[in-house]
Symmetry: none
Subunit: 192 residues, 2 copies
């Protein structure tokens, strides 16, 4: 016999894979009555993770998509233009609102991160964060998290940008530690 909580996780995994399922199927597969399945999925429906249809359920694609609305680090809405994505070992993808939160989360997760990507601030091309260049302390305030971190594909672009807007250029590992240390020393919330 399976634990109720386990069963509910199973349902979520199953529906994420199959996209749409019948109540009868779930009932047979999990070896419990249909009534129990109904009770299991009720909270999931209320949460909006799945959608109830007559006789079955279907996955709410929007709510289960990569583009989760809020930053996993600071919970502010994600601006796709600055979004920093962490691809984890278990296939999950986490998104933060900007490079600031992205770097902090990256340090937090450590080896769990398989790969991380972010957009070039100017070109909007997707780049690997480990080979990116990060510009901090510019005079331009984008209104996201502080200390603000801008990401560039080419070091040249970063330095040209710094000519007008000031700031200092850092490599990935430098930026990673710097943001972390600045947050430690200031010891206060960054976002909002």
């Amino acid at each position: 016999m399976m634990l109720p909580s386990e069963r509910r996780k199973q349902i979520l995994n199953y529906i994420r894979e199959k996209k749409s399922l019948k109540i009868v199927q779930l009932s047979e597969w999990l070896g419990v009555s249909e009534m129990t399945i109904h009770r299991d999925i009720k909270p999931l429906v209320e949460e909006g993770l799945i959608i109830k249809t007559f006789g079955g359920i279907s996955l709410n694609q929007e709510r289960n998509e990569v583009n989760k609305q809020d930053c996993v680090y600071c919970y502010s809405p994600i601006n796709q233009r600055l979004a920093y994505r962490l691809i984890l070992q278990d296939q999950r993808i986490e998104t933060t609102c900007c490079a600031h939160c992205g770097l902090l989360r990256h340090k937090q997760l450590g080896d769990e991160v398989l790969q991380a990507i972010c957009p070039d601030f100017l070109m909007q091309t997707t780049i690997s964060t480990t080979s990116a260049w990060f510009l901090m302390d510019t005079s331009l305030d984008l209104g996201c998290c502080q200390p603000q971190v801008l990401s560039f594909q080419h070091k040249e672009h970063a330095s040209k940008f710094a000519l007008g807007f000031g700031g200092t250029i850092y490599s990935f590992s430098e930026a990673l530690h710097l943001v972390f240390n600045q947050m430690q020393s200031k010891n206060k919330g960054c976002c909002y």
Copy 2:
């Protein structure tokens, strides 16, 4: 047996592909009675997604189109980050892929344009184009239309940007004429 909700999705996909279908076809294909097909398509017809014809249905092209993703001037895909919008006297809104095409279209339409807006290149705030500052001939190539035009809310930002990336700053009316004249003299396509 298929879930009702699945069947309805199938019908939408099928009609989107085939553009027009007979009720009998759907009935046979999905293994349900024609009455059921009628009941399935009723909400879709009411929503305006499909159009009912005697004996069948056809796709409502307008309602199923991908929300006008193309520039009204050069027909290239619109990058929301650079998009230039023209609000016309008859309430319509036209969108161009970037300030380049936006300015050209603006000049073309003249008094028909009530108002025009575009995002600040750096801040992504929405600004009125008439009070914006436009930067041309920078060394940064975004891969949109040439000659490339960047829009800024603050003249200061434009000039700081120009420090690193070069280029010349113009007011709205200056930019309007300049882009037009450059296109005239070169007498060639700008985009792609």
